[in-house]
């Protein structure tokens, strides 16, 4: 049986699909957009609010904000990825959780040097999954972007 290190999550944020190693993930939660407590919302910093998690609150952040994508605008029932972080877990809403697949299902693609040059030095790695281009996610990089 494949372990977490050998599996990746595929999800969609807006029109863009990402992969994420499963060991970067604490859990996937389903809930409603209305269930996000907006009292600590800080849209200028990308924080959408917080949710109850175990005995406390968990920050919910808009990953689109940090990746310079159109703002997340989900409503109704949503999926939240709870990610591991150096100072504790944090959560990001996504538009679709496609599934979890073994690493062998993904084929790496190279990125043109120009792409790295124009993406402000941020690593942009891509891979092929089925007939779809995926951007390789990294919870550590996202946490660093969050600041």
């Amino acid at each position: 049986m494949a372990t977490a290190e050998q599996m990746k999550l595929v999800f969609r944020l807006g029109q863009i699909r990402f992969s994420l190693p499963v060991d970067h993930l604490v859990e996937i939660r389903q809930g409603s957009a209305g269930g996000i407590d907006r009292t600590c919302q800080d849209l200028t910093g990308g924080q959408l609010g917080s949710i109850h998690h175990q005995d406390g609150q968990l920050g919910v952040y808009d990953l689109s904000y940090y990746l310079q994508l159109p703002p997340w605008s989900g409503s109704g029932e949503i999926d939240l990825l709870v990610l591991s972080g150096s100072d504790g877990p944090w959560a990001v809403p996504v538009d679709e959780v496609v599934g979890i697949f073994p690493n062998e299902a993904f084929s790496p693609l190279t990125t043109a040097p120009l792409l790295t040059h124009i993406c402000k030095g941020e690593g942009v790695a891509c891979e092929q999954w089925q007939d779809t281009l995926l951007f390789c996610g990294d919870a550590g990089q996202w946490e660093r972007l969050r600041g």
Binding site: T111, A112, P113, L114, H117, I118, C119, G121, V124
Partner: protein, 139 residues
């Protein structure tokens, strides 16, 4: 005459402005390729395209209002000093010799990398120095 390293030019029609690219830089023209969005892309990149096993940015040269770019029918893949780059266009016209038209150097380029105008038959094309253009792109 500007030194764009070529005696021939690939001529491309675009509703955002015709472009001429040095023939030696041309690698392949992709017809109706799938364009992808992606993280961290500046506004001058209209998308990413897969070419063989490489992902490269597609630029829209020419003058257009922000947000007015329409997905191009063709993407011309070119080599550059920073690897592969794509240019969006609507029609592939032809490969033309310099002598088949008239060239004027631009003293005030519309954008960095646009080095001249090439007048060919009834059309005008902006001649692009691909290496200069990619090196000018802001990080």
């Amino acid at each position: 005459m500007a030194d764009v390293g070529s005696r021939r030019l690939g001529l491309f029609y675009s509703r955002h402005g015709n472009i001429a690219l040095p023939a030696e830089k041309l690698i392949q023209v992709l017809e109706q390729p799938r364009l992808y969005g992606g993280p961290f892309l500046p506004a001058y990149v209209i998308g990413l395209v897969r070419f063989q096993t490489e992902i490269l940015p597609v630029l829209q040269c020419g003058n257009q209002a922000p947000g007015s770019v329409v997905e191009p029918f063709y993407v011309t893949v070119c080599g550059s000093s920073l690897g592969l780059v794509g240019f969006g266009c609507d029609q592939v016209r032809q490969i033309a010799d310099w002598e088949s038209g008239r060239y004027e150097e631009l003293t005030e380029p519309d954008y960095c990398g646009a080095v001249g105008r090439f007048f060919h038959q009834t059309e005008t094309y902006t001649v692009i120095d691909v290496d200069l253009l990619v090196e000018c792109l802001p990080e």
